[in-house]
Symmetry: C4
Subunit: 211 residues, 4 copies
């Protein structure tokens, strides 16, 4: 694999690199980014975001592992192969400040289990309130599932078209792959990620009991 030698990207604010390192340590301690999987990003400004380098241990993100990418135009070398999914979200929603992607067992298994229907349905949990704009446990949350695709540019187009301008849920699943979540800030994105993962764990447990 030919890659440019990792160099410090001076256009990434230090606070952004530190935020990405912190969320990486959190996700790694939970076992949510096994085998160098997962990727994380932060918006820098209206035209740029900072994304984690491909193939690194997310539990130990160093400053040189964070790369600034333009939200339009060609991507620099070395960035995660899933960067187009991040860029598309930032372009279509100016309110997004951070995007997190992890590989958990619950997300991977349920994304395969329910892929035919196109979503995982979650009903009546207090944890719904962890999602922005949700103020009650009553009602239903539908977390979309998209078929996986190694052409992440094409996949990003398909996803953005499907979820529309105002997605009801700040996240989606890729079938057999993992969970994406975003938010206005890193704290919001992390709350959404943790809330969705908890809901998926509860759903998985209830299916075990109900079979």
């Amino acid at each position: 694999m030919l890659e440019s030698w990792p160099m410090l990207d001076l256009t990434v604010p230090a606070a952004v690199a530190l935020d990405l390192a912190a969320i990486g340590r959190f996700a790694s301690a939970r076992g949510w980014v096994p085998a160098t999987s997962g990727n994380f990003s932060c918006r820098i400004d209206a035209a740029h975001a900072a994304v984690t380098r491909s193939g690194i241990d997310k539990g130990n993100i160093r400053p040189e592992d964070v790369i600034a990418v333009p939200l339009s135009g060609a991507l620099p070398p070395g960035v995660s192969a899933e960067t187009p999914l991040h860029v598309a979200r930032y372009r279509h929603d100016a309110g997004i400040g951070a995007i997190l992607h992890v590989h958990t067992v619950a997300a991977t298994v349920l994304s395969r289990c329910d892929s035919a229907g196109g979503y995982v349905e979650l009903e009546g949990f207090e944890m719904h309130k962890s999602l922005r704009g949700v103020t009650t446990h009553e009602g239903t949350v539908r977390l979309p599932i998209f078929a996986n695709d190694q052409d992440t540019g094409r996949l990003a187009e398909r996803i953005e078209e499907a979820i529309g301008a105002e997605p009801a849920v700040p996240g989606y699943l890729l079938a057999g792959h993992g969970l994406y979540a975003w938010g206005a800030s890193m704290a919001d994105a992390q709350r959404h990620l943790e809330g969705l993962e908890f809901l998926l764990q509860c759903s998985l447990e209830e299916r075990r009991l109900r079979r």
Copy 2:
């Protein structure tokens, strides 16, 4: 969400703030307070308790995240939306020194599973003895389940009426929501919380095997 700017509440004793920070770190490390969920409180005196601020990471409770609340009268801004549940317990039982609320997978799933019956029944576990006043594994422990309600004032009234002056178990479940536990001291409350959570995990496991 309009909130007063977090300021240090000088009426909260430092030892109380440190106790709340410690239980927060414990619960966070166990994964019991995902997505800023959960809330913790300590009695300050006969007329006041200290409660955690709404929407904070419970793994990193800072002194300014702990707010003194009166046990009668209006609540100050910024406190957890579930503060009325804490206040009602302190008012009805002068022997309670601390109250802990967490969101675990076992508590959430079993609170939904058994909500029609109104309790989770646990029988014959040595861990019963972690509960105050229980001296044997023999017999049955019934952990009450209450329907969830976003009107926490109304919910508190319903709960207090149901559990009465001398509840048999120092805790209850809110359906689809999570576990409450209390005790004469923070150590007692934590022992009850850990004991009940362990019993719920065992019960969940036994149901998986028996289906």
Copy 3:
């Protein structure tokens, strides 16, 4: 509960207290001693052992939480209620140097599940070799289960009579209660504890699949 005020027991060697604190931190981090459950001991000499105090957090055993007990005669106040189980083992087997007792979900659930038969049967695991004297994965290991009893003196007699002078397995289960394991040294006892707990986790998982 009337207890003598914790004082440093000067007859406990410092190395023994440190060993007990270390195994306590290990077991607590694994979640094996919830709600101040579990207890640990080390032999001091032919006539004495050091046992953990009743009701303490096993993740933070302090020197004053370790109490020397005689292997014959009356027990001092404050020791764990299960001290008679420890003492009986040390008396009947001069080769035992340490005894560990934990409350895990797998041990608790399987001890109830298989209590009628009197043992959990484990067959064909490489992990059998973690047990002293076992040199192959071939064959069967039977971990005895005894009915729980709050009279731990009477329980100790029943257990010692049943397992005999040379028990095949360095541990046993108490039904609905937890796992005991021992060894010639603290390291041996910990290896037996971890090996038996791993075998129980595998057995529990296989039962889930086979139902």
Copy 4:
């Protein structure tokens, strides 16, 4: 057990000993090397590898716990009983730089479950891409399972003959025993280990749901 007294093996480069200590701490924190199980090695040069000592706690590998072994000829005393499995891999594939062996519940249970068929089949996971040379989630990965054998020299011969010169997957299972994984570097071997373990956990979870 007669063993030479642990002495520092001066032919083991310090960087190799540190790498082995680091992977040991990682695997121990995950609970993948219970009861002193598991073993780890690094290639030193074309004719030597460094292997962990038998019977040590893998969470605390010290420099004197790492022993240099020749890739042909007699093994020095004190090395892990499974060293022949490591040596055979290094001899048959000059591209291997590190080999890791762990005992996880998922690997142990699935290796028994699927042993008749000779492999665990994994299909359609994004995590396939954690394996060297795999660039898509499409298709199937077959992780071989070999019957366990206490004669590890004989077992090594059987395995090498079966997997051939270019094994499709950088790892295998020993039935009822655990998981082996390797890679060109320690980082590659760890990525393969984590990727395979994640896939096994997903497969185990899917079987629970499908029963």
